[in-house]
């Protein structure tokens, strides 16, 4: 077996790093060269000399940071070379533009899953099965208690939740990039036909999605609306606004949070929202196992989340070689 230093990709200062290419993946501090899997802020940091991502990720990032950052873009599946290593992006199904990243060097394949999901989502490209020797997978929801319902079932639950309280204003909290657009897409196919408002941060992302050719239902930007106009309608807001004085702008509200964590009753109760809808842009337990299997990886690493249980399970039940990065 090789030592950790000899792996093509390893953990360095808490980030994924490839020595041979001198390139970082989603680094959390400024570096020379950074591959960005997708445009969520916990995967991006300011101050890198050069960023490399898919075209969609680059557009979303530029819209979000409003800063002149230097991003080199590639299409999905398009191979490029850095120091003799072939690198390519592949759809990961997490949000628009999100990608897995494959490295090929001396006939050895490495795949970084990025954040991914297998579930249906019409607002981004479906997860692509990529074969690999080494897989570095996320496992945010790496326990078998996580099993997602179909997103149209959740959308119908949301629709019922709003229409059952016509005298209320329904505030649905969700991440402004990705989750919000997916929810809008799903909710527009339900029986709920009332007005949908969205916070500026979500409104902006909706526009970017539309410019990139994704059909997103029209929403009204939430400004100083009269309270009675909001009765019976849905308002999408980012979770950061759930605490503090912002909610005082509304009267007679009910609140909900859309997140995979909401499948657990204790977390639902503790969250402080009236209701939780368990919908996630990450893979559930079965999703992770399926990707491990279909990728045909002989060696698997996990990062993001508690990987103890899934590692032990794969070793015991599936005889997969699970490796650990020293941190």
């Amino acid at each position: 077996m090789r030592t950790k230093q000899e792996y093509l990709i390893r953990y360095k200062d808490g980030n994924l790093y490839c020595d041979l290419a001198d390139i970082w993946i989603d680094p959390s501090k400024p570096v020379k060269k950074a591959l960005i899997t997708h445009a969520h802020f916990d995967h991006f940091t300011f101050g890198c000399e050069e960023y490399i991502s898919t075209k969609e990720t680059a557009i979303l990032l530029k819209e979000r940071v409003r800063d002149n950052i230097k991003i080199k873009t590639f299409e999905y599946g398009e191979e490029f070379k850095i120091n003799g290593i072939n690198i390519s992006f592949h759809p990961s199904g997490h949000i628009l533009g999100s990608s897995q990243i494959r490295f090929i060097f001396a006939e050895e394949k490495w795949l970084i899953s990025g954040d991914f999901k297998l579930q249906k989502d019409d607002t981004c490209k479906q997860y692509e099965i990529v074969k690999t020797d080494y897989l570095i997978s996320e496992c945010t929801f790496g326990l078998p208690i996580f099993k997602w319902d179909d997103s149209n079932k959740i959308a119908n639950d949301i629709s019922k939740w709003i229409t059952n309280s016509p005298e209320k204003t329904s505030l649905l909290f969700c991440y402004s990039l990705g989750k919000a657009q997916r929810l809008l897409n799903e909710i527009s196919q339900t029986n709920f036909k009332g007005n949908i408002y969205s916070h500026d941060s979500i409104h902006k992302m909706n526009n970017s999605y539309r410019e990139l050719g994704i059909d997103i239902k029209d929403t009204i930007k939430i400004e100083n609306k009269k309270i009675d106009e909001l009765k019976g309608s849905l308002i999408l807001l980012p979770p950061s606004l759930s605490k503090g004085s912002y909610l005082k702008n509304f009267k007679n509200i009910q609140t909900a949070f859309a997140s995979g964590w909401m499948s657990i009753r204790a977390l639902r109760k503790r969250s402080g929202y009236d209701k939780g809808f368990a919908i996630s842009d990450h893979a559930d337990w079965d999703g992770i196992l399926e990707v491990v299997k279909k990728s045909e990886a002989k060696n698997v690493f996990f990062h993001h989340g508690d990987s103890e249980a899934i590692s032990k399970y794969l070793v015991e039940k599936e005889s997969i070689n699970v490796l650990f990065f020293g941190k």
Binding site: L143, P144, I145, F146, I264, R265, A266, D274, K275, E316
Partner: protein, 546 residues
């Protein structure tokens, strides 16, 4: 269809915070369901059924066995979820593939009066098979309710008060009446529901039932501005609050938790039945030290509570007494609307009559509470401080003009408890919480110094705010020395002020002491571990008190 409706009701009640909305949802449910199902719903929601048909552990083992699932994986999931019934419900999501959902039309009544009780009649093998069958035939949405009832853990954020209010609103009858009807042994049946919603109030059928208890509030500063003469003072005993009722010759003993406990205290029932008058008394049941005329510790009373039909030697070993505070009804006359000081006159009058006229001597099992007469508020404080000497928890202060209404009514009765005892201790272990606290480290163990060593002396899990819990949880994860299953041993660094009610010698504990009701009262971030108290300090505290 009704299990579906109940399942929706459960979901709604679980996700609604506003009391008024909960009442509306309940009213709507009661209006749209069969009386028998309503009756069961009330039974479940008020927590009257906590019968455990199988244990959570059994349920987890069974799942592991049927679906060849590693036990350790289920245990890991449990740490995140904190409830066996819910863990299994979540794990079942991808296991029950049968399309044959024969049980999709099962009613709540059928499930509770037949399906589930039938399970407990089976032998183990049949039982396991039957549970598997039900899992496969029951629609996924009902699994949680089924598993929770099976394991006796069905709970939802609804109080009896809320059910009372909804029914009261439903039929436009005073809450007191409904509360009265809901007390005691509510047996789910069409009759019990019809009785509950009966618009005609029949005194006769309410005969054995207690009045809703009137409870005291925590002391408020504003009462110190009033004249001491406006109040009646009693010791606050640490026993079981009860109503002792004798109507039409029958005696019933009701706890505040609405349990009829005649069977546990037969000697009291027997003695009281010799009294000629009918009455309702509000008071406290205690195990009594007749020599010193003070109460024994609550732990002795515990030896009596759960024992039905105790034999003579138990009765002698743990002698009980009923101390009456108040007279609520006398010979069919409800006197709750009379002011307290006048009720007290009645109570004393009847007590002396009973003492003199009853053939059997009742004073060795029944007395009325002594009143205390502080001359001013500082004097009241002195009495309060003395309360440990006679094994009471402090004082109860009652407005002399108060009528006996129900619930925790503000501004008439107060409890004035002795200040708790406190020690500063070091956090050394943490364990994952369950239920609402699942996935967080919320159960803590604390230690005191003995020479250079930290010795565990108490465990506590209440007292921190949610924000503090989250902050401490983060710290715990970063400062773990070792993990033993769900328990982590921690770097000794954090000091907490621990308050408790009682401290005594215990051979079972390594520290040699045991404390009652330990709880965290302050996170002493200002203190270093060397500032924490030692076992010696604890012994001194113990000496000071006894």
């Amino acid at each position: 269809m009704s299990l579906k409706k109940f399942s929706e009701l459960f979901g709604d009640l679980d996700s609604i915070n506003s009391t008024n909305n909960k009442i509306e949802v309940l009213k709507r449910y009661f209006l749209s369901n069969e009386p028998i199902d309503n009756s069961w719903a009330i039974y479940l929601l008020t927590g009257k059924s906590n019968k455990r048909f199988i244990s959570g552990r059994y349920l987890k083992n069974l799942f592991s066995q049927i679906y060849e699932y590693p036990q350790w994986l289920i245990d890991t999931c449990y740490l995140k979820v904190g409830d066996s019934a819910e863990v299994i419900t979540l794990l079942l999501k991808n296991k029950t593939t049968s399309r044959n959902k024969k049980l999709s039309n099962i009613s709540l009544n059928e499930l509770l009066s037949k399906t589930i009780p039938d399970i407990s009649k089976l032998n183990e093998e049949e039982k396991n098979l039957q549970i598997k069958n039900i899992w496969e035939r029951l629609p996924e949405d009902y699994h949680l309710i089924f598993n929770k009832i099976l394991t006796g853990t069905f709970r939802v954020g609804v109080s009896i008060g809320l059910i009372t209010k909804s029914i009261s609103k439903l039929i436009n009858i005073d809450e007191e009446i409904i509360s009265h009807r809901l007390m005691g042994n509510f047996k789910p049946s069409i009759d019990s529901y019809e009785f509950l919603i009966n618009k005609n109030i029949n005194i006769q059928e309410l005969n054995s039932k207690p009045f809703p208890f009137l409870l005291a509030n925590t002391i408020e500063d504003k009462i110190f501005h009033h004249s001491i003469n406006d109040f009646q003072f009693e010791w606050k005993y640490d026993g079981i609050r009860m109503q002792l009722i004798k109507r039409s010759g029958n005696v019933s003993l009701w706890t505040r938790g609405q349990e009829l406990v005649n069977e546990s205290f037969p000697e009291l029932v027997e003695k009281m039945s010799h009294i000629k008058d009918d009455f309702v008394l509000d008071g406290e049941l205690l195990v009594w030290n007749f020599k010193e005329q003070i109460a024994f510790d609550f732990s002795l009373l515990q030896k009596r509570i759960n024992r039905k039909s105790p034999n003579r030697s138990i009765q002698i070993k743990y002698p009980i007494i009923f101390i009456a505070y108040d007279l609520l009804e006398i010979n069919g006359r409800d006197i709750r609307e009379i002011r307290l000081d006048n009720r007290r006159v009645e109570l004393e009058k009847y007590f002396s009559k009973w003492q003199n006229k009853t053939e059997n001597n009742i004073s060795n099992i029944f007395k009325i509470c002594d009143l205390i007469f502080p001359k001013d508020w500082p004097d009241a404080l002195t009495y309060k401080e003395k309360s440990r000497e006679n094994n009471t928890e402090g004082l109860i202060i009652k407005k002399k003009t108060s009528i006996y209404s129900s619930g925790r009514k503000k501004g008439i009765w107060w409890k004035y408890k002795v200040d708790p005892m406190q020690l500063d201790a070091v956090l050394i272990y943490a364990r994952g919480g369950s239920g609402r606290r699942a996935g967080l480290y919320t159960d803590y163990s604390f230690a005191l110094w003995k020479d250079q060593e930290l010795i565990k002396f108490a465990s506590a899990y209440s007292g921190l705010t949610n924000i503090e819990i989250k902050e401490l949880d983060k710290w715990i994860r970063k400062n773990t020395i070792e993990k033993f299953g769900p328990v982590r041993s921690l770097k000794p660094e954090m000091v907490f002020e621990i308050s408790f009610e009682k401290i005594q010698i215990s051979k079972r504990h390594k520290s040699g002491i045991a404390v009652r009701f330990p709880r965290i009262t302050k996170w002493r971030k200002d203190k270093k571990i060397n500032d924490a108290d030692s076992l010696e300090n604890a012994y001194e505290l113990m000496k000071k008190i006894s």
